[in-house]
Amino acid sequence: MSAPSSADMEYYYKQLFPFTDVFYWLNHSREPSKDMANRELAMAFRSGAYKRYNSYSSPEEFKQQIERANPDRFEIGAVYNKPPKERDALLKSEMHPLQKELVFDIDMDDYDPYRTCCEGARVCSRCWRFITLAIEVMAATLREDFGFQDFLWVFSGRRGAHCWVSDRRARMLTDIQRRNVLDYVNVVRDRSGNKRLNLVRPYHPQLTRALEQLKPHFVDIILGDQDPWCKDESAFATLLTGLHDKQLQEALRKHWTENPGRSSQQKWSDIDAFAAAETRSNHLNAARKQEYMNKLKECKEDIVLQALYPKLDVEVTKQTIHLLKSPFCIHPATGNVCVPILDGFEPSNAPKLHQLQQEMQQHNNNVAETSLQPFIGHFEKYIDSVIKHAGEAVAKAEEESSLKRKHDDILA
């Protein structure tokens, strides 16, 4: 952990931060437009001060102003109908948000009941697999269900990841629509894991797909690597509570109390063994037995989702005007750069500001030779795609509205 000084930050904004790229990305075009001129940016300072409603109409102004203010970090908000910096001269009712990227936020500490390697704000390559998996599941939902093409995952600098969806349709969503998209994506609402999910059957196709994605990793990550239920209390809290039958729960509780410290793998198989015994001792007939085993299978499916399905921080997604830290900012506590997440990324490969400063010295201040370059390269390719699709979407929207006008004219 190495928190950067304010001189470090000044250096970073002067030499390294890709202002032009970030500007184009948020502008959805290389020509300066309202998408950036009317975009709110907020700056957070070391002192704890927070300055909202800044806006910049060119990459040069963007760089100059941030450099001058030298904030700890800055955050990105909505595009308004008027430039946010003129807000003081306007009536409050005259300003309203028009659009913003659809964003999602995943924090590692929401996985605490299921990880044993770290807790709280700490992460390592082992528990980062939860996030990698969450990104995969989210990608399938965003792409296949909502038809979104352009989304980017960004390391939040310490223990989480942010997703930015730049498709025009995603940007134009209203608050109510955002809330519904969120509810669709967000399956595990209770964070403690000690309540049965009890999802309806048959699963919605989205959940079926997620379950298929997660199952192999459940065996690997939960039953194998993390082994959270080896600790008996946590097995009582988050494994037993997922089962449907009180008697079965009691039998297992007794068994695990008498034989403490059985591994997650063993406990998971204990469930089947004890369930079989339960049906025998209750003399269930074949049909009832089938029903019991089905119910048990459903509980186990729910437990898989409960453990591994992406756990989202809901507040970030709900409102168009919500602010979220910009990519390529420095995390004020760790000194990590908030880089886009590439394949095989883990938090320890995130470039650090101190390390970048050394690299710059070694390579004659040439950013292209630092370890930041691969991330910038990836980001630039991504921006090309965003700009291409944004142009197409705008053209299509204009065509539709002119068609509609013609249609209306004919009717009138």
Binding site: K92, P97, L173, Q177, R179, Y184, V200, H204, P205
Partner: protein, 529 residues
């Protein structure tokens, strides 16, 4: 959390109907209100109705044209209002659409017969339609004033629309849908349906089971086989997305035909909302007509009376400073608290802290019962610092602003209202270490049982409360607890008057009033003996 709420609040803060009207000296012109005053003849009007729709349901797109008397103006509006109020009550009780329809239908027969197809002659039918049409438009005038009123009006009218749609025969439904000429009602081909059949069925099966009550799998499969599907951009059926009721692919939602009412209803709600905004913008022009204003003001006031919130902005009766930083802990006061507040107070006592939502819920409740801003600060300072984990300086730095803000002493200076049950239920659910929310929804049944036992309920009473909770009727559960704790044998008419307690402060006020009344009676008896 952020400032978007400002616009909404500013209207609440400054609203004063009469002042608004007086200050704008604009004369009534040919605006939206023309229909109230101008006198075109009934024949023309009849034509309008015929052309709008030959069925019994409308989107109310064309304003009515004819002339009506002031008396009709008022009585028709009141009749429709009664229906909407009942719908509102159903919404706050979390009743299902089916149960609501069952409650509303007899009311419709009496007050809005055209909805149930009750007319016998053409002349009667016309009169009934006219009443339906006018009353809707009159209420638009009443409920355009504030965002809250508009929202609740749209919610109630949309539900009424759904109920009425379901009352139509399927031929009438089809005719009505056709008459709307909605562009997005495109059915998919059989090939496309077959290709996606497995997934479409997965998505539809729970809905068929719970909404159409097809409990048998074979029934559901047969229904599914016959069903036609509409494909449309997911944004158009957004309220079916959140609870995963439809299948989504590549940005399109696949909507079974039996769910198309949702689509039409959301179209109805959007249209109505847009129209209300227009009415709102032209409200100042109405000041010319001094006959209508009092009626309108009276109508919307009557409507919100049931909404304990807006009565007059005055809450607790705290004339002799009975409620202060110390007394809110005392049994004399705290025995009137509803369960949610007891839970918050308990949490505060144990942890010497409450998280944001808990602070909001509790401090606004206490404000509602009459705790002054100074006393409130005293109360929370003591409660937060008593545990020894927090210094007064830290409290002042981090929390004081929050509590002062709730009293309108900081920032935007809005006088926030105590949360009603609907607000409480709409906030994020409590997690570990949270004490806000609704006990009837958020407690496990074991915990709720033990809490209710502490309040002295019998096992049978507890079962009845748990029953309501299971059905999602949380305010009913709360009301039951009130009735059981205040009148154990269920004979007191005053308690059993069927008032739904949908506000923690209403619980408190009613509880205190009852106690006061009983005391007075006892004093009288003592005095006379």
């Amino acid at each position: 959390m952020f400032r978007q709420n400002k616009k909404r609040l500013s209207s609440r803060r400054n609203f004063d109907l009469s002042a608004d009207m007086d200050s704008s000296g604009i004369k009534l012109e040919n605006g939206v209100h023309q229909y109230v005053l101008s006198g075109s003849d009934a024949e023309k009007e009849q034509k309008l109705y015929d052309s709008i729709n030959s069925t019994k349901l409308y989107f109310y797109e064309q304003p009515p044209q004819g002339e009506i008397t002031l008396e009709e103006f008022e009585t028709w509006a009141i009749d429709r209002l009664k229906i909407l109020q009942e719908i509102q009550a159903s919404i706050s009780r979390n009743r299902s659409l089916k149960d609501t329809a069952a409650v509303i239908k007899p009311l419709l027969q009496k007050l809005l017969p055209s909805a149930t197809g009750g007319s016998h002659s053409a002349a009667e039918a016309f009169a009934e339609k006219k009443k339906d049409y006018y009353s809707h438009y009159i209420l638009r005038l009443c409920f355009a004033r504030t965002k809250e009123l508009r929202e609740s009006f749209v919610r109630a009218e949309t539900l009424l629309f759904k109920i009425r749609f379901n009352l139509l025969t399927s031929t009438d439904q089809a005719k009505f849908v056709q008459s709307l000429d909605l562009p997005m009602l495109q059915f998919i081909s059989d090939d496309e349906k077959n290709e996606l059949a497995a997934k479409l069925y997965q998505a539809a099966s729970p809905v068929l089971q719970f909404q159409l009550n097809l409990t048998d799998e074979q029934q559901r499969k047969a229904y599914f086989a016959r069903e036609r599907y509409i494909k449309l951009p997911f944004e158009n059926v957004i309220e079916l997305i959140g609870n995963r009721q439809v299948f989504l692919k590549d940005g399109y939602a696949y909507l079974p035909q039996f769910q198309q009412l949702n689509l039409i209803a959301s179209e109805f709600a959007n249209n109505l909302n847009a129209s209300l905004m227009k009415v709102f913008q032209s409200l100042p022009r109405m000041n010319e007509d001094d006959r209508l204003l009092p009626i309108l003001a009276h109508l919307s006031a009557g409507y919100t009376m049931t909404d304990f919130d807006q009565a007059d902005g005055q809450y607790g009766n705290n004339a002799d400073n009975e409620i202060n930083a110390e007394s809110v802990w005392s049994p004399e006061i705290s025995k009137h608290y509803p369960l949610s507040v007891r839970h918050l107070m308990e949490g505060l006592k144990q942890n010497h802290h409450l998280r944001y939502y808990g602070r909001q819920q509790l401090s606004l409740f206490l404000k509602g019962i009459g705790l002054s801003a100074d006393e409130s600060l005293k109360f929370f300072t003591k409660a937060f610092t008593d545990g020894g984990h927090m210094t007064v300086e830290k409290f002042n730095k981090e929390y004081k602003y929050n509590f002062r803000h709730n009293y309108g002493l900081e920032g935007n200076r809005i006088n926030y209202r105590p949360w009603d049950c609907r607000t409480i239920l709409s906030k994020p659910r409590p997690g570990r270490g949270d004490f806000h929310g609704c006990p009837f929804r958020d407690f496990s049944s074991e915990k709720l049982t033990s809490e209710l036992q502490k309040m002295g309920l019998t096992p049978a009473q507890i079962t009845s409360v748990l029953d309501s909770c299971q059905k999602g009727e949380y305010t009913t559960a709360n009301t039951k607890v009130f009735e059981f704790t205040h009148d154990s044998n269920g004979t007191d008419v005053e308690i059993n008057d069927q008032t739904l307690i949908a506000h923690p402060n209403l619980y408190f006020e009613r509880s205190r009033q009852l106690e006061q009344k009983r005391k007075e009676i006892e004093d009288k008896i003592k005095g006379s003996s």
